[in-house]
Structures are given as structure tokens and as C-alpha cells.
């Protein structure tokens, strides 16, 4: 299964409403970051397996976000970052 994104790609975490269990924190939705790595395994999407449907496997990416993007009043250094592991179906191609 070929990953849709590669290391170094810019991605946007989808800004969409999902009421089922999922693994994207509210503060990260709509944020743009860079793929730090493609995680070395495939996983079942939480939205599906939480309710018993385990048919699909998906790539997960470690996405690096800038702290200064996440928190407008962030007081730390410009280069501080936060990495989140995000399922492929939550990511869209983006520009820097």
C-alpha cells in the first residue's frame, strides 16, 4: 500500500466535523504542517474500528506543527514544534 504523502510534504489537517470517536484534537484541525515521517505500520481508522468495522488499513503520519501557529500568544522560541500522529484520511495536500 503506497502512502499518499512522503517525508517533507506539506499537509493540512482537515477542518471537518466528526462526532464519532477519532484521534485528531480540536486544536489541530485546519492546521498546516510538514510530514516528519510516514509511520512504519498500517492501522485501522479509529472511526471505524471503534464501532467494529475493521476492514480497512491506513497509513499514519507524524505531522510536525509550529507551536506559534497553534497558539497565537505562544511565548516560546519560533522553532518550537509539536508532532502529532494523524491518519491519512485526515490529511490534505497543502502549501507551506
Amino acid at each position: 500500500m503506497i502512502p499518499r504523502f512522503a517525508d517533507g510534504d506539506w499537509v493540512r489537517i482537515s477542518l471537518r466535523t466528526e462526532r464519532r470517536h477519532h484521534r485528531v484534537p480540536a486544536y489541530a484541525k485546519g492546521q498546516v504542517g510538514v510530514v516528519e515521517r510516514v509511520c512504519d505500520d498500517l492501522f485501522h481508522p479509529p472511526e471505524e474500528i471503534a464501532f467494529g468495522d475493521a476492514g480497512r488499513w491506513e497509513h499514519v503520519y507524524r505531522v510536525r506543527l509550529r507551536q506559534t501557529d497553534l497558539w497565537p500568544e505562544y511565548g516560546g522560541p519560533e522553532h518550537d514544534c509539536l508532532e502529532l500522529e494523524i491518519f491519512e484520511h485526515w490529511l490534505e495536500a497543502a502549501d507551506e
Partner: protein
């Protein structure tokens, strides 16, 4: 730190608390109580028996708690609640059987 920004409307439940104002975190180590170890062991057994096949099924149960219940319950109480929900959903026990058993244990251990 910005705490009142746009993402608040994206929150889907009390567990989705990243970025909200919070008190200082107590970082001291502490031992798990015996019942907490039992809950952990029970969840692992439910995995072993295939009643739970992915931790998302436990997280879903925890996130389904009403906000006031979520805040009131401790970490392993939330696990226990989610494990019970899953066991009921999977037909391992009925809600009535579970309630009877809880009542019997309460009676036995009442001081």
C-alpha cells in the same frame, strides 16, 4: 497562550481538552490501587478473549460518557465503564446481569 480561540467549537467532548486552561499537572509518581490493577487486567483479558480488538473501542466508551460523569470518574473508573459497555455490546453480559452483580457485591462489602 490562547485559550479562547476558534478551536473550542471543534471540541467533541470533555476528553478533547488540549489547549484549554488547566491547573498545574501533578507529576508525582503514585502506585495503582489494587482495584485499578484489576480493571487493567480485566481489559487485557477482554482483549485476549477478542471482546475488545482495538483500544479505539475503549476510547469510544470513555468519550461517550456524559461530560459531568467524565469529570467525576477517575482514570480507571472510565476504563471500567467503557469495558462494561463493550462487554454488553458484544453480548458477553447483559446490563441487568451486571447491575445484579454490582448490587450483590455492594451488599457483601457494605460496612
Amino acid at each position: 497562550m490562547d485559550t479562547s480561540s476558534s478551536f473550542a467549537s471543534q471540541r467533541i467532548g470533555p476528553h478533547d481538552m488540549g489547549g484549554l486552561p488547566a491547573e498545574a499537572i501533578d507529576r508525582r509518581e503514585h502506585d495503582a490501587a489494587y482495584w485499578e490493577r484489576q480493571v487493567d487486567a480485566m481489559v487485557m483479558l477482554l482483549f485476549g478473549k477478542g471482546v475488545i480488538t482495538d483500544f479505539a473501542q475503549v476510547r469510544r466508551g470513555i468519550e461517550a460518557l456524559a461530560p459531568d460523569v467524565y469529570e467525576r470518574l477517575s482514570y480507571y473508573e472510565r476504563w471500567a465503564s467503557a469495558a462494561a459497555d463493550r462487554a454488553i455490546e458484544q453480548g458477553l453480559v447483559t446490563r441487568e446481569e451486571l447491575a445484579e452483580r454490582v448490587a450483590a457485591i455492594r451488599k457483601r462489602t457494605a460496612l
